[in-house]
């Protein structure tokens, strides 16, 4: 190209992606020029991961186009992206833990084969590691599984910047510094700046705002699947970024009336890293923060500490409402009724023998109470919509005698009507003395809680009560470097 207008490495135009009823991307247009670092920020569900998947070819948008170097690419997929030099460092580990670093390099670079590939792979990865992280001290014949988490992440980053035939032109870094210490993070950011100065392009996602502000040349703020702000980095401050992320909030329609729970007896307590956790009787405690910062782990730990693996507990303290229905929620082969009653079978059985009549009665009662939309409780659970499946899981938990209900972001991907119904049930049950520990990625739900713990990097970093529970405060605590 001899024209003076440089062409974007990758340009996404009007991309729309929806998963069921949820619009993950609602018409996003984003172009990444050579020689720039685009910072991408946004809260949970803003659509960051989805746009990343579109750019790296893992996901084809339902509407909209992807172009490379100014031309629309018809069948843009993983291999098309790779040949254009698009590389990605994923949030989860994407190396083979059972292979050595050299062997992983071999897998990442298809063209590396032939006699003596080990030597070539070693040179490539060591060169890249030396460039990105000088004095890294990682031996390249080590097995990835033996590395510490920080070392693994260093290898992943070096792998993305390594050059074996096809030079990297656009590197997507999704929370790359989450397990690096400050000096390593700085090394990496220095390399990003060098790479960009040399004409490379980077998409940089991080919850540490000052990293984004100091590294990115342009910052894109996303919210609800849309780009809500896009300015040169210099035009943003930490404060204005946080404000931009929360800019679309629609008033405090569901403000709960504040309740005085100071004297309520303690229901649950746990101390770990960060601030101690406690929950009182009848309280709705929210767990907030960016997804994957330890909230689910905390719920799992609370559940494990209070349930028996060998013998059933006579009076269980806690019960659990799953967020990932497929993984740890529904029993897919079963009817709605069986799915509902599984956690409270002792109530419909005597000496271990089930009373079918009592079980059906219990089912009918809950069907009425939470309005499960089905003709027959004997229908398969999968015949229900996602929202109704979630209601069944709620009924499962509420029908136990456990005084504490742990909720692992259960309303993800549920329609608005169902949400309102469930919120009402939660409110009623809390009035009646039940305790809820509610991890949610949705601001609206967090604002329904009496008290909120905000998580960052595996620990509770802030506790907000009553009027202090605002989107601004939560965002500020979720993103490092803003509190000060």
């Amino acid at each position: 190209m001899t024209g003076d207008r440089r062409k974007a490495v990758i340009e996404v135009d009007g991309a729309k992606v929806s998963f069921g009823a949820v619009k993950a991307l609602d018409g996003v247009t984003l172009s990444i020029m050579p020689g720039e670092c685009v910072g991408l920020v946004g809260h949970n569900g803003a659509g960051k991961s989805t746009i990343v998947s579109v750019i790296n070819g893992g996901l084809t948008p339902h509407q909209g186009t992807v172009s490379g170097d100014g031309e629309v690419v018809a069948n843009y997929g993983i291999n098309a992206a790779r040949t254009r030099g698009v590389r990605c460092v994923f949030q989860e580990l994407s190396l083979c833990p059972n292979l050595s670093i050299i062997e992983n390099t071999r897998i990442m670079h298809r063209t590396l084969g032939g006699f003596g590939w080990r030597k070539r792979a070693r040179q490539i990865i060591e060169k890249s590691l030396d460039t990105v992280f000088p004095n890294h001290g990682i031996a390249s014949d080590k097995t990835v599984g033996d590395l510490s988490i920080a070392e693994r992440q260093m290898v992943e980053i070096a792998m993305a910047f390594s050059d074996a035939g096809i030079a990297p032109r656009l590197v997507i870094l999704d929370e790359p510094t989450s397990s690096l210490d400050a000096s390593l993070a700085e090394q990496m950011l220095d390399h990003v700046r060098r790479f960009v100065a040399g004409g490379g392009a980077v998409v940089f996602i991080s919850h540490i705002l000052h990293e984004v502000l100091t590294t990115a040349s342009r910052i894109v703020v996303m919210k609800d699947g849309r780009i809500v702000a896009e300015r040169p980095a210099a035009a943003f401050s930490e404060h204005s970024l946080v404000e931009a992320m929360g800019s679309v909030v629609k008033g405090d329609a569901h403000r709960r009336r504040s309740r005085d729970l100071a004297d309520a007896p303690l229901a649950l307590e746990q101390s770990g890293r960060g601030m101690p956790f406690r929950a009182s009787r009848g309280e709705i405690v929210g767990l907030a923060g960016l997804a994957g910062h330890g909230q689910t782990g905390m719920l799992m730990a609370l559940h494990a500490a209070n349930s028996g693996d060998w013998l059933p507990r006579r009076d269980p303290l806690v019960t659990f409402v799953a967020g990932d229905r497929r993984l740890n929620g529904v029993f897919e082969l079963w009817s709605i009724l069986k799915n509902l009653s599984i956690a409270s079978l002792d109530g419909v059985a005597s000496r271990g023998v089930l009373d079918a009549g009592a079980e059906a009665g219990r089912g009918a009662e809950w069907k009425r109470r939470i309005e499960i939309r089905t003709q027959d409780m004997e229908n398969r659970i999968l015949s229900l919509s996602g929202g109704n499946q979630q209601k069944v899981l709620f009924a499962r938990a509420l029908s136990t005698r456990a005084p504490v209900v742990l909720m692992d972001d259960p309303m993800r991907g549920v329609d608005v009507g169902t949400k309102q119904e469930v919120y009402e049930i939660v409110r009623q049950e809390a009035e009646a003395g039940r305790t809820f520990v509610w991890y949610s990625t949705e601001m609206e739900e967090v604002c329904l809680c009496d008290r909120v713990y905000v998580f960052r990097e595996g620990a509770v970093v802030a506790e907000l009560t009553g009027e202090a529970i605002t989107e601004g405060n939560i965002l500020a605590a979720s993103f490092a470097g803003t509190a000060a």
């Binding site: 559940h303 349930s307 028996g308 693996d309 060998w310 059933p312 799953a322 029993f331 089930l354 456990a402």
Partner: protein, 316 residues
């Protein structure tokens, strides 16, 4: 019409259908002369695979990776030790039975202890266990062939009202198994664990206790089958269980139990066990050898899993 449609959706119906076809094809050749004898023999021999198959089915219901490879060794050990203890004495029948059950319980405990303590997959735990049990059986047996007490020998080889006694025992055990699976909390629990262990755990099910009980149950059924088989065949032989390693798994698969776990059915075990025996006698009647029979059995298992596997994608 709807009744037929509903029936055809039952996973066990196919094994029954196949068993009936084979039964019919066999008596067609013999001209109906040996119908009664054939049916009786089928019930007798199927009874043993039914008993071990039910135990294996409970274990497989626990989900992917759960399998008990110690079944044949347990059968052998229980048969050997029980016969040795009874020593042809009719008065020792009950102690002999008790010893067999105790052996089953001990093997079950050993199996699950290995799974838990060494954190190894059930397949390797039960495999190591089976090596040890087998050696113990060889050691106790010492090549001697002790006859069963006369009462037991008669009982296991004769019939009541035309139905072989061993088949009646298998029926009683099947009813018990059906009751456990369908009517008790325990049955719900194993099905839940088989569908999703994390979900079961989060629903408050005591996962370890349930799995432990299931491995013990399977081993007890295996030792019971060993006890009966030893009496039926006039003495314990060291290889008497070996056929049942693959058989116990095969009848579970052919019977329509989900290999991915969580969904089991007792009638299918009957259909599959009868079928497995009847195929042998049919091919014998047609003058075909053991080779063809084995190949056919294998192909049937693979086609069953191919058909069943297509129905539920996403399970390993």
């Amino acid at each position: 019409m709807t009744a037929i449609a509903r029936l055809s959706r039952k996973p066990w119906i196919w094994s029954w259908f196949a068993a009936f076809v084979v039964w019919f094809a066999t008596i067609l050749v013999t001209g109906g002369a040996s119908t009664f004898g054939l049916s009786q023999a089928a019930l007798t021999f199927a009874a043993f695979s039914i008993i071990v198959g039910i135990g294996q089915m409970f274990v497989i219901t626990l989900g992917p990776g759960n399998i008990d490879l110690s079944v044949p060794a347990t059968m052998t050990l229980a048969g050997t030790v029980a016969l040795k203890l009874m020593d042809v004495d009719n008065a020792m029948i009950v102690p002999g039975l008790l010893v067999a059950v105790v052996i089953g319980i001990a093997v079950g405990i050993g199996n699950y202890a290995l799974i838990k303590a060494l954190r190894i997959p059930p397949i390797i735990a039960t495999l190591s266990m089976s090596f040890i049990i087998q050696s113990t059986a060889i050691w106790t047996n010492r090549g001697l062939r002790i006859k069963p007490p006369s009462f037991l020998a008669d009982f296991t080889t004769s019939s009541t009202l035309g139905i072989p006694n061993v088949a009646i025992i298998a029926l009683v055990i099947s009813l018990l198994a059906w009751f456990l699976l369908e009517k008790t909390i325990y049955g719900r629990w194993i099905s839940a664990i088989g569908q999703s262990m994390p979900a079961a755990r989060m629903a408050g099910i005591p996962v370890d206790g349930t799995r432990f009980a299931t491995y013990v149950f399977c081993a007890v059924l295996a030792s019971l089958a060993g006890y009966l088989l030893a009496c039926f065949s006039g003495g314990a032989a060291l290889n008497m269980g070996s056929e049942y390693l693959l058989m116990s798994i095969a009848v579970v698969v052919i019977g329509g139990t989900a290999v991915a776990g969580g969904d089991s059915n007792v009638p299918g075990i009957w259909g599959a066990s009868l079928f497995m025996f009847l195929v042998v006698s049919m091919l014998n009647t047609y003058g075909l050898g053991a080779g063809i029979r084995l190949v056919m059995t294998g192909l049937i298992i693979i086609s069953v899993i191919l058909l069943a596997g297509g129905r539920q994608p996403g399970t390993r």
